[in-house]
């Protein structure tokens, strides 16, 4: 646990989480806690379940067993007194995603809308803001990610790095208390990675709670309060980056890190 988190209850609490895709169990009993204002990075080889874990937090994937709680609220299920829990209603699900912003590997901007409209769409349709309020907030968010001059650009006319920053602005505009990042720089050309990481760094410095699935070990080492190493759907090792990266306890993490060092030497 990091210093920031000393006395507050966890903002995300995951217990004994299990998830199957058909016959394959991709999450095999995950426990994870995130405290307010923490930056937690999830690392591990591809197929280790880290993206699925992230997507279970805002229930883009429905999990099978265990529980995910955000601000104490059970995600994806409704607790029925004296009976088995049941799937949350669509309305309940929408409401429970209120505190969570998400950024995707493939940006997922809507190509038929300008940058400005991408950011304002949910402000109007979900938050019920007026067009004028939404545009003011949207403009401010795009300025924050350094794209004040791209309000009217369509995604097709933006670079990957710019698209990802619009996607970050779109999530931030909803004023979430937690941001989930699913390999936000993996689809970017190397020279565009820096701008996106810079925006994420400044978010972390502002005290945003962040859960980041990443292959950027440099970013994890520098910005994360804690790092989880996953393999085969389980947490193999967890702790501050200095400990994990400099003195890995498990041989599997050691092998993963030395493989990464070889590729990026």
């Amino acid at each position: 646990m990091s210093k920031k988190a000393a006395s507050l209850p966890p903002i995300i609490e995951i217990r004994k989480l299990r998830k199957r895709f058909g016959g394959t169990e991709v999450l095999r009993g995950i426990d994870l806690r995130v405290y307010p204002s923490e930056v937690v990075c999830l690392i591990g080889p591809s197929g280790s379940g880290k993206s699925t874990l992230l997507r279970c937090i805002n229930v883009l994937e429905t999990y099978d067993e265990g529980e995910v709680r955000v601000n104490g609220e059970l995600m994806g299920y409704e607790e029925v007194f004296g009976r088995d829990r049941r799937r949350a209603s669509p309305a309940r699900l929408r409401e429970s995603r209120r505190d969570l912003g998400m950024v995707f590997q493939q940006f997922n901007l809507w190509p038929h809308m300008s940058a400005q409209d991408n950011v304002t769409e949910a402000l109007v349709s979900v938050r019920g803001k007026s067009r004028a309020q939404a545009e003011a907030l949207g403009t401010a968010m795009l300025e924050k990610v350094g794209l004040a001059d791209k309000l009217d650009s369509y995604p097709a006319n933006l670079s990957g790095g710019q698209q990802q920053r619009v996607a970050i602005a779109r999530a931030l505009a909803m004023e979430p208390s937690i941001m989930l990042f699913d390999e936000p720089t993996s689809a970017l050309d190397p020279e565009l990675v820096g701008d996106v990481l810079e925006v994420m760094r400044s978010l972390a410095a502002e005290g945003m709670t962040m859960v980041v699935v990443t292959h950027e070990m440099g970013f994890a080492a520098e910005v994360a309060d804690r790092v989880y190493f996953l393999e085969g759907g389980q947490v193999v090792e967890e702790g501050p980056p200095a400990e994990l990266f400099n003195a890995p306890k498990s041989p599997r993490l050691g092998a993963f890190l030395s493989g990464w060092n070889r590729r990026n030497a």
Binding site: P90, R94, R97, G101, F104, W110, A122, S125, A167
Partner: protein, 224 residues
């Protein structure tokens, strides 16, 4: 018997032919619009997770694609009065054509939906948008852009198929031509003129599709 084509006869009867063409255009446009509604509704049922809805849509598509349009026209025209519903032939024509086209359009839209990456809806869901709004604001606009070429194709087919409504006494371009032929006995000139009018209308339709596409592209929206 042979004769030299004399198009002055076609010119003399042009008002009657144009009137027929106007009916063709009217019936087709009405069926196109109704077919869009039918097609999208059937498609949404077809891709719905609710089994009975998907199953019903499947049955509708199989049936309506399987029945020849001429047969469908005759069924609608003769059966509705039996059920106590008196409709003018034009209305029966629009019902039959839009049902037929709706079945084909449903499959076109299904392909369109399948071509959109799942991340598009996921991003909206993560922002708290409901499924209905995701359809209206995020998915359907993109589907329409993507299927535009196939849709224009289908609309051209529909306009040509509208000539079959002559069989249920709709005085559209073909039936108007037949009436002129009956009076003048000059089938070559009259049917060639009718063919020319069909080509003109369909060229207009495809130009319209091109304009819509160019307009969307001009706004940087068409990426495919």
């Amino acid at each position: 018997m042979s004769h030299v084509p004399d198009f002055s006869i076609a010119v003399a009867h042009l008002p009657a032919l144009l009137q027929g063409a106007a009916v063709t255009l009217g019936v087709s446009l009405a069926s196109i619009v109704a077919g869009l509604g039918v097609g999208m509704a059937v498609c949404l049922c077809r891709i719905s997770r609710r089994r009975p809805l998907a199953w019903a849509a499947r049955a509708f598509i199989s049936a309506l694609r399987g029945i020849p349009i001429l047969v469908l026209l005759l069924i609608v025209f003769y059966m509705l009065p039996l059920a106590g519903i008196e409709l003018p032939p034009v209305a029966a024509a629009i019902i039959a054509l839009s049902l037929n086209s709706g079945a084909f359009q449903a499959e076109i839209y299904r392909g369109g939906f399948a071509s959109i990456p799942p991340g598009q809806a996921e991003a909206a869901r993560a922002l708290g948008m409901g499924e209905g709004r995701i359809l209206r604001r995020i998915l359907i606009p993109q589907v329409l852009v993507r299927v535009l070429p196939s849709l224009v194709n289908e609309l051209i087919m529909l306009l040509k198929n509208s000539s079959l409504t002559s069989a249920i006494t709709v005085v559209e371009l073909l039936r108007a031509s037949q009436q002129v032929v009956a009076a003048t006995y000059r089938p070559t000139e009259i049917y060639l003129t009718a063919a020319l009018l069909y080509v003109v209308m369909n060229t207009g339709l495809s130009a319209l599709g091109g304009m819509v596409r160019a307009r969307l592209a001009g706004r940087g929206r068409v990426t495919a």
